[in-house]
Structures are given as C-alpha cells and as structure tokens.
C-alpha cells in the first residue's frame, strides 16, 4: 500500500543551484554574452526562433545559454515565454519576391533572372575542421562586387509561364488562415494550418521524413526549384493608422520544391509543388518542410497514401518537439502510485498463471506460506 507523501523540496532547490553552477562552468573561463551567441552561433539561434516559433534573436540566445546549449530545452523556454505576452495581431503576408536576398540558388535553371547567389553557405566546403578557427585568428572582410539591382522573380513564376506547373496554393475564398496557437489540431487539416505546424516542427523529425520520401516511401521526384534566404519587410494593419504600419524586417528561408507528377483522375500531368518557409537561415529545415508539405498533399492530388510521410495525422501530431519531449520526458517523473498499482496487478496475474500452469506447486507454495 502506497500513501501520499511529499518531499524533495531541498533536493530540488539544491539540484537547481547545482544546475546554475554547471551551466556557468569553470569561472576562470569568461561568461558568454548574448551578443556573442547571436553573432557567432547564429544558426543555432535561428533554429530556436523557428521551432520556438518566436522571432527574437536575443531571447533565443538567452534561452540557449539558459539551456546549456540544449536546443530543444531552449525552444521549450521560448515557447513558454511567448504565452506571457499579449497579442497585437496578424501581420500582412510577407512578399518573398521583394526580399533583400542574401542567398538564392535554383537546381532547375542555370540562368535565371537575378542569377545564382551562393551567399554564406556551407555548400562546397570540404568539411575539414579548421585549426585556425580554434586559434581565434582574424577573419578577412568579405569581397564586394558592383551590382545593378536586378529583380529576382520566384522560380515558380518562370515555370508558370509554360503552364506546366500548378499555381501557388489557393485556399477557398474568404478563408481565414487557421492558427494552431489558438485552436486545437483537427484532422483532416487544411494546408495553411499544416504549413504552420510544419514551420515550427522539429528539424530532425521533418528531415527524416523528407529523407524517407526520397528513398522511396512516397516517392515524388523532387527538385529544388529555388531556395532563397534574406530579409523581408513586415507590416501590420492597426486601427489607429490609415496605413499598414511597418514593423521592421525579419530574415526568412523559403524553399520551392518542384515535383514531377504524372497526373491522376484529379489533375493533369504537370509539376506539383511543396513549400517551405521558416524563420532565419534554416535551409535544411525549409527543404525538409517542403518535402513533407508535398508528401502530405497526397490525398488532395489523388495519390495513394502508403507511407508515413503522407500520413497527416502521424506527421503533424508528432512534429512538435516541445510536445514530444514533454510526453517522453514525463516518464522519468515519479510514477510510484501508478507503478504500485501495476505491480499489484502483475503479481495477481502471475499468481493466477502459476495456479493454472502448475497447480501442485502453487498449492505447495501456499501450504509452505501457511
């Protein structure tokens, strides 16, 4: 019999002060400043902003330090912080065609208006550890090149001229975009809501699912039509002003995945599309999101749903790493009462089993006990 007890208050307090000590580490090593994290661990900061679903570099940097570099813990901290703030509204939709582009590549067209701009990429590096970086040497200023401001239309607009690609996704007229921070998830779910869930989804989970589609589970022949990274302006309609108020700029990564599609009863042969849009410079995540978006459109396009990546309820219900870690990690919290009940149950079942399988021995045992 287990009775309710309480305890551990001192242990918890001491554990937290030990955590604070270990977080700080060796005091002879200078403490990290938030601006160092923002500037030098920028992609980690971007991941926390994207999956924490809150664009604020300093808060993300604070969360990373507080979590000792555990990004999922940092994402959890950011999500919790969000809930303390009032909501001012929904921005006007950003225009990625008007982006101040820092990187833009297409795997489908060599010569496209605006060109291929590699930007600050890991691509084509040799993935060799750099001892000079460890020594902390000076870094040269980047090169500059004269440029005439050339428009950079989205690649989807170029393909659209031939009519061989489906248009940008349209929801029914008068559709108000769903918001998973306001309403519980319901299945089946509209594409706008799915995209919101994917944009904050766990990079590792979406990467694995995207990878699975390439390996043949829901194969859909993807090409990167375009990836672009850069800053876009944000505007908000407010009642006190006769125009949309400009808020500043945010950096986003957009991925247009183009997929071969042989046609179905519902649609002619054409290229179909998957779309990825995430906060910060988060290319892998945007690509994985686009692969998953396309795979999850299986029913809409009349494809057979045969693989995990096409199963909307499976993907969306498990893509949020804060929910996932909450449920997995709760298992380590005290379950003493639950376990006592289970122990009692298993003992009884075992006794019944023994009595059934080996009645004599069970009888002996009872007699011995008596």
């Amino acid at each position: 019999m287990y009775v309710a007890v309480k305890g551990g208050e001192a242990a918890i307090a001491n554990a937290h002060s030990l955590l604070a000590d270990r977080r700080r580490g060796d005091r002879s090593v200078p403490a990290l400043r938030l601006d160092q994290i923002v500037e030098q661990l920028a992609l980690g900061v971007d991941r926390v902003m994207s999956e924490g679903s809150l664009y604020d570099r300093e808060l993300a940097a604070l969360a990373i330090v507080q979590a000792r570099g555990d990004l999922i813990e940092a994402i959890f901290l950011v999500r919790a912080y969000r809930t303390t703030l009032p909501r001012f509204g929904y921005s006007k939709a950003i225009d990625t065609a008007a982006m101040l582009v820092e990187r833009r590549v297409s795997a489908t067209y060599k010569d496209l208006p605006g060109g291929q701009l590699l930007g600050p990429t890991f691509d084509y590096t040799h993935r060799l550890l750099d001892p000079e970086l460890a020594a902390g040497g000076d870094v040269a200023e980047p090169l500059q090149r004269e440029t005439d401001a050339q428009a950079m239309p989205r690649v989807s607009a170029i393909l659209a001229r031939e009519g061989l690609i489906e248009p940008d996704g349209e929801m029914p007229r008068d559709n108000v975009p769903g918001d998973i921070t306001r309403e519980p998830l319901e299945f089946p779910m509209a594409r706008d809501i799915r995209l919101q869930a994917l944009s904050r989804g766990d990079e590792g989970f979406l990467l694995a699912l995207g990878y699975s589609t390439q390996r043949g589970y829901a194969r859909n022949h993807p090409f990167v039509g375009e990836i672009r990274i850069g800053e876009v302006e944000l505007e908000l309609d407010v009642p006190e002003l006769p125009f949309a108020v400009p808020l500043g700029t945010v950096r986003v990564t957009e991925c247009q995945m183009v997929n071969q599609f042989k046609g179905s009863a519902k649609a002619p042969p054409q290229f179909t599309r998957g779309y990825g849009l995430v906060f910060g410079q988060s290319e892998r995540k945007a690509m994985a999101m686009a692969l998953c978006d396309r795979a999850l459109r299986a029913s809409e396009l009349g494809e057979d749903v045969v693989a995990a990546a096409q199963d909307e309820e499976f993907v969306i219900s498990h893509s949020d790493n804060v929910q996932a870690t909450g449920f997995v990690e709760h298992l380590k919290l005290p379950h003493y009462v639950d376990f006592q009940a289970e122990l009692d149950l298993v003992r009884r079942m075992r006794a019944e089993y023994d009595a059934r399988e080996n009645p004599v021995k069970a009888e002996d045992k009872r007699e011995a006990a008596e």
Binding site: T96, L100, T147, A149, A157, D168, G169, Q196
Partner: protein
Amino acid sequence: MRGQEARDQAERKAAMATLAQSSGDDIVRLWNATGLPSDAELLRGPETGLVTVRGRIGGGGSPFNVGETTVTRATVRLRSGQVGHCYALGRDKQKARLAAIADALWQDPARRAEVETGLIAPLRSALATAHERRRAETAATKVDFFTMVRGED
C-alpha cells in the same frame, strides 16, 4: 484621397519604416545630437507583445501563419496635440517611445523638416549603406557560368 494627403501618408509611413528598422542606439545618439524635445504624454505603452507573421502558400498563394515575433509599441501625445505611434520589432521600449515622439513631431508642420533632416535622413542613409554593402557582398558570390571549349574543330 487627395494627392497631398496620400503623399503625406506615404512619407509618414516611410519615416516610420526607417525608425522601425534602425537600432535604438542609433536613434538615441541622433536624437541627442538634434536636440529634439523628448517629453510627451504617454497614452499607451511602451509595451511588448506578439505579432503573428504571415506568409503565402507557394510564395504568392493564400496566407498562412508562420510564427510570432516580438513587437514593442508606444503611443504619445505632444503638448501641441499631435498623437504619434510606433510599432517596432523587438523589445526596445526606449526606442518605441522615441520613435512614437518622432512620429508625433513629424506631424507638426513646424517640426517636420527638423525630424526629417536631423533624424530620418541620417538613419535612412545608414540603412541604405548597410543594404548596399549586403547586396554587394552577396553579388560577389554570384556564379558566372562559362561554356567549356570542346576542341572539336
């Protein structure tokens, strides 16, 4: 809307955009240099809240919600009656208050030129320089394709 009113609105919006994109430090530094008055009645805030960022499916399709961003806003009234607003990304309350005062001063015909030349113009030029540098650095990473000579003739 009459032409003049539309032009005024466009200019006011452009000034607000410049203030929103500039750092709080730059605004404070220039403010101190111009000697613009920084006293005003706070009607609201400065307060920090969330704005949900919207994107479009496929880049140009129907809107969807991407995630949230912190925004700080302030509303002020000058003794001369003008009411100014600021909404800016981030959590810089001093910046929001000063930008709201700047917006109010901008609406005062007697002050507009001073705000434009002392504050907005230098901020705008610093932003333009930064953008131009970013563009030029990106342009240096542009791929120039050339055709390999096959040597057949």
